[in-house]
Amino acid sequence: MDYLKIALAKGRIGKEASKLFKGIGLCDSLDPDSRKLIFKDEKNKISFTYVKSSDVITYVQNGVADLGVVGKDEILERETDLYELYDLGFGKCKFAIAGIENQKLYAKDQVLKVATKYPKVTKKYFAARNQKIKVIKLNGSVELAPLVGLADVIVDLVETGSTLKANGLNVIEEMFPISARLICNRVSYRFKYQLIAQLLAELKEMEEG
C-alpha cells in the first residue's frame, strides 16, 4: 500500500503541525528542529516532508505530497486548484492595513500606495470596495515602507502587533483572520480517500476531545 505523503511548512506552522500529528499518534520521530527533511512512519504508512512554506502548495498541487499544512495567507496569494479540508486552528493571525499615526485610507486627490508581500490579497481587498490603489510588492521588512516614504500604508499579517509598534505603526483596519489549513491534492483525495477520511476523523476527534 502507498504512503500518505504530507508536506509541512517549515517554521512556526510546521512545529505546531508536528505536535498535532504526534498528538494523534503519528510519526514519533517527527522533529521540526532536525536538519532531516523527510520522516517516515512505517507503521501507519505516512511520510512527512518539511519544505519552505511557499513551496507546500507546489508540492501538493503536483501530487508529490497528497496533503499539506500551510497558512491560509499562502493559499489566498496563490492560484490554487486544491481541496481545503480542515482548519487546523493554529497559526492564527490577521491580515491588516497599517500605517503611521493619523494616516488615512482615502485622500481625495491621490491614489493610495500600498506596500505588501501579498499583492493578490491586497488588490482583491481594495477592488471589492472599489478603491483604486497602487501596489508595491516587497519581499520583507514591509514595515519600513511607510517610514521611508515608499508607500502610504502596508498590508501584512499581524499576530500581536509588536513588530508594528516597534516601528511606530498602527493597525488602521483589520481585514480578515488567517489560520493553518490542511490542503489536499484533488486526485490523491480520490485514490487515497479512505486514508484521508480516517486522518480527518482523528483530527476532529482530537479537536473535540
Binding site: G63, E79, E84, Y86, F191
Partner: protein, 315 residues
C-alpha cells in the same frame, strides 16, 4: 549531456499519433464523425461562457476591429456553430481532435491537445449512457486503475436556487464547495439568512460521496426539491447501467462535484489515473448551454487530455 535526438523525438510523435488514431478509431467505430474547428473565436459571441472562465486564462488576439480569442473550449465552439442552424429531429455524433489554448498567470500560453465527442439531439438518458460508457471504455483501455468521479449538477443547482442568493454569494459558495472547504462553508452559511432545513442540506453536501444508494438515503433525510430529486433519480439510473457494465468499483459518486466550465446541467464526470495529477477526461450534459444560442437541444459529451493520457496511460 545528451540531447533529445531527432530520432527519439520522431519516435515519440509516432507513438502519440498511434494513440490518437486508436482513440479516433474507437470514436468512429461508435458512429462519431470528425469535425474541424477554427482556432479563433469572437470574444463577444461567447461572452456568457467567458464570464465564467477566468479572464486571465483566455488568450486574446486582436484582428481588425474585433477582439478574437484562441479557442479555450471545443464544446463552446461546436455549439455556437451548429445550434443557430439546428434542424428539428437531427441527431449528431461528432468528434474533434485539436488544441485549446490557455494563458497562465505568468503570461505563458499553454497549448493543450484535446480529443473528445459530443452527442447532440438524442434522448437524454440514452445519450448519457452511451457517452459515459465510452469514457469508461477508453479510460479502462489505457490504465485499469482509473477512477471516475460522477455527479449530476442539478443537485447543487436545485439547492442553490432554493437559497435566493446574489451572484457574488453564489460564486463564493460554489468556490467553497469546489474546495471542499467545510470550515468556511459553515462560517459563510451562518452569515446567510437561510431556513434551517436548507442550511442542513448545504452542510451535508460535502458528506454526500461514496456509495450512491447510501448517499441518496442520506440526501433524502434533508431538504430536497424536485430538481435535486431529479438529479438523484438520474444518477441511480446511471449506476444501474455502470454496474451492469462491471465498472462499479471505478465509479465514485460525489454530489459536491463542480466543473471548471459552468455550463453543465445534468450528468457531470471527471476521470483520473493513479499516477497522474490532472484530469484525463471530463465531461457532462449541457442542454441549457445550447439554449443560450437559440434552441434547447439535448447535448452531452466529454474531452480527453491527450498529452496526459499519452504520458500516464502506459500506452
Amino acid at each position: 549531456m545528451e540531447y533529445f535526438r531527432i530520432e527519439d523525438e520522431l519516435k515519440y510523435h509516432g507513438k502519440r499519433y498511434q494513440l490518437e488514431k486508436e482513440i479516433e478509431d474507437m470514436f468512429m467505430h461508435e458512429g462519431y464523425t470528425h469535425l474541424e474547428l477554427s482556432a479563433f473565436e469572437n470574444l463577444d459571441q461567447l461572452r456568457s461562457l467567458y464570464n465564467k472562465l477566468k479572464k486571465e486564462h483566455i488568450v486574446k488576439v486582436y484582428g481588425g476591429s474585433d477582439i478574437l480569442v484562441l479557442r479555450t473550449d471545443h464544446t463552446a465552439s461546436i455549439i455556437k456553430n451548429l445550434i443557430p442552424r439546428w434542424e428539428p429531429g437531427l441527431k449528431l455524433k461528432l468528434f474533434y481532435n485539436s488544441d485549446v489554448f490557455r494563458s497562465s498567470p505568468n503570461g505563458e500560453i499553454k497549448e493543450i491537445k484535446q480529443l473528445g465527442i459530443e452527442y447532440l439531439g438524442e434522448a437524454a438518458l440514452k445519450a448519457d449512457k452511451e457517452v459515459f460508457g465510452l469514457a469508461l471504455q477508453i479510460l479502462n483501455r489505457y490504465d485499469q486503475g482509473f477512477i471516475i468521479e460522477v455527479s449530476n449538477s442539478k443537485f447543487i443547482r436545485g439547492l442553490i436556487e432554493a437559497m435566493a442568493l446574489s451572484e457574488e454569494e453564489i460564486e463564493h459558495l460554489k468556490d467553497l464547495i469546489d474546495r471542499k472547504n467545510r470550515f468556511e462553508l459553515v462560517e459563510f452559511s451562518e452569515g446567510l439568512d437561510l431556513p434551517e432545513e436548507i442550511r442542513n442540506s448545504l452542510l451535508n453536501l460535502l458528506d454526500l460521496q461514496g456509495d450512491l444508494t447510501a448517499l441518496v438515503k442520506q440526501a433524502e433525510q434533508n431538504y430536497l426539491n424536485p430538481t435535486m430529486a431529479e438529479a438523484l433519480a438520474e444518477l441511480m439510473e446511471l449506476k444501474t447501467f455502470t454496474d451492469k457494465l462491471g465498472y462499479s468499483q471505478h465509479v465514485y459518486f460525489d454530489l459536491s462535484l463542480l466543473m471548471e466550465l459552468d455550463y453543465y446541467d445534468g450528468l457531470i464526470f471527471k476521470g483520473y489515473y493513479p499516477n497522474s495529477f490532472k484530469e484525463i477526461v471530463c465531461g457532462g450534459r449541457y442542454d441549457s448551454f445550447t439554449e443560450e444560442f437559440g434552441q434547447k437541444i439535448s447535448a452531452v459529451g466529454f474531452s480527453l487530455d491527450a498529452d496526459e493520457l499519452m504520458e500516464k496511460g502506459g500506452a
